[in-house]
């Protein structure tokens, strides 16, 4: 019976055998539960005639934000005597209603209005009320090794003392405390050193560079012991040997972490972006770089998604908006309403028949890793058939875009210089062909100073014309020639940006592209026709199925280039971006400038993951040359899979302490098993501190685990996602009393939490920016609320200096409901007097925002109407509903900056345009041969709607829907291997021939799962869903204070086959990577199945 869902399927509605057995057992012990009457019902019993359904009373509801996944849907928590009894959607939030209710709706009227949230959101109570939550600081029991899961509880104060001061903490010899790496504490000195390092890096000549290093050693002779390596001062000070890494982190908490690390002076603050959809973000960054003050800069780590509610055609690629991808409650009603009510068509590219694909017009089960090839096939068809938006693409600058009523423009017409081999390089500048002299222009950052502006060049009717990208004067508008092929101008041979893209797309015939993708060419043509048959109301919407490949960056680039061909950016039904209200006080008039008040050091030096820095400028390049020991990432950041392995390799330097917040790289990373031997080894990582609500798959290796508050107990500003056209800022705020105990920091009581840990360390070490006067002119930072209420006040004030977009004041009724709804919260969490004192005059506005769980732009403000001056071609009409919060600037479909970046492996220039790179390949670029070597199945992952990657295996309601995952494979593949539904198989791979997780504590977790056959899977591909197959997280036995606590085996069922994922053959301790965009690679491993 165990292979069936426990309760929630119709065929199993009766009593299963297991349930029957449990019932029999329960009958004997049932009396034990008598007397456990929740307090509320006692009141109900006492008060006849009390409300029959108290949950609709607004005074029993708190509006906050879900965190069961990262979508951040607004929720309302319904309270019954202080217990969260039910969670539903917050109707003020666009995530849960379509359209969402007007922001001005009185809170008193919203009691019975609730929006839609997903099953995980509905089950959130079980994440918070999880018996395995930690309530004391756990210290690895002295005398035991990391990962042995034997712990002792110690007081918060003692724990802070130990992590700060170090000492012989485990009977293994001295452990460096955080104090030890806090050596550079003088902000002025740090600034001087950083300037000297900048000069060293800027110097291109080897000998002069070395001379500058010697000069550094002379200048700072007395401070050299502060440096990690005086011979390589560009590594920075020893402060960098403290690394802070996080998994799920949102704003507000991010602000306290930034403040803390700024005060400490480390450059090592790294998130987890690359394990999610890294190359989506970093291709987005490369596409959004702007030419400012003479260089390409200011690229934003972001991406676009489709405004699918207004699309007439959508193509979901490696994306399943019904199951994930930010986020189902927002996007599903838009898609189902558009498709059923308005005849919208959509197609899905995915090897697996996802729930989205199940409802699609067309399902295209392309070969994984060929997403870029499919995009180029479509680009080829669109260009060959001239189905692109000529007017949009011909606009070479802002003035031309304005004339076309387009918010964005591209370099489609800009001329690019070719090298001797005909390879595209940098853009042609007007001065290079004597077309126009350079101009002195004031710097945007400092108008007193100037830089030389050199015009770009496009051809207009065959004649070169200078292009100023941001010119607004209509006379400066340039509508260039789209296709310029090997034209000689002066000493140069040039092509236009669009020509380069066309050439890339014409690398293969449509038939050949179809063959590469494993698709029928007629399907590709049909999709291409639809894509270009709806004006701007068509979109290719992509997600991690596109980005998490070794060729991820260029796959993403190709799809965004395809979208540019129809110019759908910032158009209703096209691609849109996220917009959030600023709350950090950086807008004029906002009351509290959080960043200004910081007043701490600017950290400098190379990060442990070597991001945002060019290898060839570094002094390590002089030492090591090509290939670098590990890859460098000048175009990306937050490269999660690099953190622990780089610590393991001590490259570029050894690390003394790692603090990990709400992250589990071991579980979540592909080949996360490679992290275990490093984390388990105090020689490689002397001090490992985790801030985690549980003993998780990674925190089980920590020396200390500090418990944290959960999402219904804490503050965060959740931000938005690219699928949301409205400007929003959801505010997560405490809804229930925390299950963790209170501690005292700076004399104030506060829940044991991330905030308490950072403030406690700051207090112990005397870090600036915390404690009395921590906010300078804005007062003390002695309680977490001192930051959070200030942020809400800024948000409530708005973004206009005169306060004209402030929210209204809460009236008496709103204030009454606000206070009454929080009557169950302890003073350490909610104290109306404390909050009001921090908020000052803005208090009634703060209440107004919190009553609604954040700030949300009204539905009608999300779009605006514009009229096209002329239809640009027969395919593009004059209906121009556009995003009211637009991207609104240049989109790089040719990237000079990317071209100008070199691989740290080969020293070669990167390619600056959309191109298909066959994979999978190693970080060095070498193609892998695993498929040819007999590993006959390609492994991919997906996510069931009822699990989040690593943190919902505690949700028993969800487990009842699906107690375990399975190995999903095509029926024919199964038959060919003699496998049947329910057979158990082990997954083995080239880098994990044993098919198991070695937990380095004497235990092994084999990667054995149950076969589920389906017609809905591309042959040759197998899949497992993420979120199952745990081996910690309350699922195994552990010991605290010599008391054995039994794990719950329901939490560890199923298979987690990340350890089968391919280890990079050059790096040897890290998953395959996208060397440009930084993605951790989930979909490029070939495996074999062994029947067990």
């Amino acid at each position: 019976m165990n292979d069936k869902p426990e309760i929630l399927m119709p065929e199993n509605c009766g009593l299963s055998r297991r349930d029957f057995l449990k019932m029999s057992a329960a009958a004997g012990g049932a009396a034990a539960f008598l007397g456990m009457l929740p307090q509320f019902s006692q009141i109900m019993a006492a008060e006849e005639g009390a409300s029959a359904y108290p949950l609709v009373d607004p005074a029993n509801q708190i509006y906050t934000v879900c965190l069961q996944c990262n979508t951040g849907c607004g929720i309302k928590v319904k309270l019954l005597d202080g217990i969260a009894a039910k969670i539903d959607g917050n109707p003020y939030s666009p995530m849960t209603m379509y359209p969402h209710i007007d922001y001005s709706t009185p809170i008193a009227e919203a009691g019975t209005i609730e929006g839609a949230i997903c099953p995980k959101g509905q089950a959130g109570l079980q994440s918070v009320y999880d018996p395995y939550r930690l309530v004391s600081v756990l210290k690895r029991k002295p005398g035991t090794k990391r990962g042995e899961n034997q712990w002792v509880t110690i007081s918060f104060e003692q724990a802070i003392d130990e992590v700060v001061n170090g000492g012989d903490l485990f009977g293994e010899g001295p452990v460096p405390g955080l104090k030890e790496s806090y050596v550079l504490t003088d902000a002025k000195l740090a600034k001087e050193m950083a300037a000297a390092v900048k000069a060293i890096q800027a110097e291109k000549d080897k000998d002069k560079k070395l001379a500058l290093v010697e000069e550094f050693k002379t200048t700072f002779a007395d401070q050299l012991d502060m440096m990690i390596d005086p011979d390589h001062p560009d590594l920075g000070p020893k402060n960098n040997q403290f690394v802070f890494a996080w998994g799920r982190l949102k704003d507000a908490r991010k602000d306290i972490i930034a403040r803390f690390l700024g005060a400490y002076g480390t450059n090592n603050a790294h998130g987890h972006t690359t394990v999610c959809q890294g190359s989506l973000y970093f291709t987005g960054k490369a596409m959004s770089e702007q030419y400012t003050d003479g260089s390409w800069t200011g690229g934003v780590k972001f991406y676009w998604q489709g405004d699918v509610g207004n699309s007439e055609f959508a193509l979901f690629v490696g994306a399943s908006p019904f199951e994930g991808n930010y986020g189902p409650p927002l996007r599903t009603p838009r898609i189902t309403s558009a498709s059923v009510n308005k005849g919208m068509k959509y197609a899905v590219v995915d090897p697996r028949l996802s729930k989205t694909a199940a409802k699609a017009w067309k399902w295209l089960p392309a070969k994984p890793g060929t997403e870029g090839a499919l995009a180029l096939a479509l680009i080829r068809w669109v260009i060959d058939n001239e189905r692109f938006d000529r007017l949009y693409l011909s606009a070479a600058n802002k003035a031309a875009a304005d004339a076309a009523a387009e918010p964005t423009w591209t370099e489609a017409t800009w001329l690019v210089k070719l090298d001797e081999e005909g390879k595209p390089g940098k853009f042609l500048r007007a001065s290079e062909i004597g077309l126009r002299e350079k101009e002195e222009r004031p710097l945007s950052t400092n108008p007193e100073k100037t830089y030389e502006f050199d015009y770009f060049v496009a051809l207009v009717n065959g004649e070169p014309v200078p292009v100023d990208p941001y010119a607004t004067d209509a006379a400066m508008a340039v509508r260039g020639d789209l296709f310029v092929d090997n034209v000689k101008l002066g000493d140069f041979t040039v092509k236009s940006g669009l020509q380069i893209i066309a050439d890339s797309a014409r690398e293969h015939t449509l038939e050949k592209w179809a063959e590469i993708c494993g698709l029928d060419v007629r399907d590709i043509e049909a999709v291409a026709f639809e894509f270009t048959n709806h004006g701007k109301k068509a979109v290719a919407d992509i997600h991690r199925g596109v980005s998490q490949h070794t060729n991820g960056f260029y796959n993403v680039y190709a799809w965004y280039t395809l979208n540019a061909l129809i110019g759908n950016y910032d158009h209703a039904g096209g691609l849109i971006k996220a917009s959030t209200y600023r709350f950090d006080g950086s807008k004029k008039g906002q009351p509290y400038d959080i960043k200004q008040a910081n007043g701490t050091m600017a950290p400098f030096g190379t990060s442990i993951i070597r991001h945002n820095e060019k290898y060839e400028k570094h002094t390590l390049f002089l030492r090591d040359g090509y290939p670098a020991k590990r890859n460098w990432y000048p175009l990306s950041s937050d490269i999660y899979q690099e953190i622990v392995p780089s610590i393991g390799d001590a490259y570029p330097y050894p690390v003394k302490a790692l603090m990990l917040y709400m992250g589990s790289p071991v579980y979540s990373l592909p080949a996360g098993n490679t992290n275990i031997p490093i984390l388990a080894d105090p020689q490689k990582l002397p001090l490992f501190i985790a801030i985690d609500a549980f003993i998780g798959e990674t925190s089980m290796y920590a020396d200390y685990i500090f418990p944290d508050t959960m999402y219904l107990e804490r503050w965060e500003f959740h931000g938005s996602h690219p699928s949301v056209p409205f400007k929003i800022q959801p505010v997560r705020n405490p809804a229930i009393a925390p299950l963790v105990p209170e501690v005292t920091v700076f004399g104030q009581n506060t829940p044991m939490s991330l905030e308490a840990v950072l403030m406690g360390i700051a207090e112990k070490m005397g870090l600036p920016g915390f404690g009395p006067g921590g906010f300078g002119e804005y007062g003390d930072y002695i309680h977490p609320d001192d930051l959070y209420i200030k942020l809400v006040a800024n948000l409530a004030f708005g973004e206009k200096e005169d306060g004209s977009d402030s929210v209204p004041d809460a009236d008496d009724e709103e204030m009454r409901i606000f206070l009454e709804a929080r009557r169950h919260l302890p003073k350490s969490v909610f104290d109306a007097e404390r909050w009001q004192a921090i908020a000052g005059d803005l208090w009634p506005k703060v209440v107004y925002v919190l009553n609604r769980g954040g700030r949300f732009q009204n539905f009608e403000k999300g779009y605006k109407e514009r009229v096209f001056p002329e239809p640009s071609s027969s395919y593009f009409g004059i209906d121009a509903t556009q995003a009211a919060n637009p991207f609104g600037t240049m989109i790089n479909i040719y990237q000079e900056k990317t071209y100008d970046t070199k691989s740290a492996m080969t020293g070669e220039h990167l390619v600056g345009y959309a191109k298909y790179f066959p994979g999978p390949f190693a970080v060095t670029g070498e193609l892998l041969t695993d498929e040819a070597d007999g590993f006959d199945l390609r492994l991919i992952t997906y996510r069931e709607m009822m699990q989040t990657k690593s943190r919902t295996s505690s949700n028993y309601w969800l487990l009842a829907l699906l107690p375990e995952n399975f190995v999903l494979m095509n029926v024919d593949d199964a038959n060919a291997r003699g496998l049947n539904d329910g057979d158990m198989v082990k997954i083995v791979s080239p880098s994990n021939p044993d098919g198991q997780w070695d937990l380095m504590n004497g235990n092994y977790k084999p990667m054995i799962g149950k076969i589920k056959t389906t017609q809905g899977m591309r042959p040759g591909v197998i899949a497992f869903s993420l979120g199952f197959g745990h081996w910690s997280y309350g699922g195994v036995d552990f010991t605290i204070n010599d008391t054995k606590i039994a794990g719950d085996t329901r939490r560890v069922r199923g298979i987690h086959a990340n350890a089968a994922m391919r280890v990079d053959p050059y790096l040897k301790n890290t998953t395959l990577v996208d060397p440009v965009g930084g993605s951790a690679v989930f979909y490029d491993t070939f495996v074999k199945l062994e029947k067990v």
Partner: protein, 297 residues
């Protein structure tokens, strides 16, 4: 089987004593609408006719229609549910929302969703079918009840009188849709460690599961040997919510907007519009059960 029924009777004997102390006897009394909820109620009433239905989320449109229907005498309302299978994405939010709303224990489910695959690669599709109680106008489950604990109420919803139910399971067998399950008093947290002071532990965390549900407009904390433990349980269209102007939990949380609810006697309602579509069908129509749950296909 005999043993089980005996146990049920035994439990009921104890439970009713506690139950009497907890709540009024007349479970079918009209809910007292909380004062604060009245504000929402009145606001919705004022808005019920003013806005263009096209400009509203269907959830909000249906809520306003619900408030309108509540102005009529109960016998003049015809609650129906319409499920558009083209919009159902099989997310199970409804299943879990129902579990959370009604505090359903292991073994009890009101609203499962079927997930079926059809076809041969690459021409494959999946169908997701939510299956609540059909609230039949000719229900096979009610006549078999030996103590008339289950019946169609004034508004046409098939209800269970927990105080009368003896837990014999006859209705479970009689229902052709498998819409009824028995509550054996389990909880999801019952085997968890307590480990006080070391981890949060069961005692601290089981509160949400033991907190009262409000089925039939009465608080039912989850206390051993007290209803609904030992009873047959089933979907009741969340009457306790409906009575205070709130849609059933499965309706408000339907992210595909596949599930619709309302008064089919109101010709302007969304459900009235839908039940007359040519693509409407009902499950096992041939049995003559006359379900009040309609599917659009």
């Amino acid at each position: 089987m005999t043993e089980r029924v005996d146990r049920r009777n035994f439990l009921r004997g104890l439970g009713s004593a506690i139950g009497a102390a907890l709540a009024a006897d007349n479970f079918d009394r009209l809910a007292a609408v909380p004062e604060q909820a009245l504000a929402a109620y009145e606001a919705a009433l004022a808005q019920a006719d003013e806005a263009n239905a096209e400009d509203l989320d269907t959830i909000e449109r249906m809520r306003r229609e619900l408030v309108r229907a509540l102005q009529k005498p109960p016998s003049e309302r015809r609650w129906v549910m319409v499920i558009d299978l083209r919009k159902c994405i099989g997310c199970h939010a409804c299943t879990i929302a129902c579990v959370a709303e009604n505090k359903l224990p292991p073994g009890v489910v009101y609203r499962p969703v079927l997930d079926e695959e059809f076809g041969t690669y690459p021409n494959v599709t999946r169908r997701f079918t939510p299956r609540p109680c059909m609230q039949c106008d000719n229900p096979p489950c009610t006549p078999v009840c030996p103590v008339t604990a289950t019946y169609k109420n004034e508004e046409g919803v098939v209800v269970v009188d927990y105080d009368q139910c003896i837990g014999c399971r006859a209705c479970l067998t009689a229902c052709p849709y498998g819409a009824r399950t028995s509550d054996f008093g389990l909880t999801y947290t019952e085997e968890m460690p307590v480990a006080e002071g070391l981890i949060a532990g069961r005692t601290t965390t089981e509160t949400y599961e033991r907190a009262a549900n409000f089925e039939y407009s009465q608080p039912h904390p989850r206390v051993e040997r007290t209803s609904p433990i030992g009873n047959a349980r089933k979907c009741h269209f969340c009457l306790h919510r409906v009575k205070v102007g709130e849609l059933p939990a499965c309706v408000t949380t339907c992210i595909g907007r596949a599930t619709m609810f309302g008064d089919a006697n109101d010709p302007d309602s969304l459900v009235a519009e839908m039940v007359n579509k040519p693509n409407v069908m009902r499950l096992k129509e041939e049995l003559g059960t006359e379900p009040r749950v309609y599917y659009l296909v």
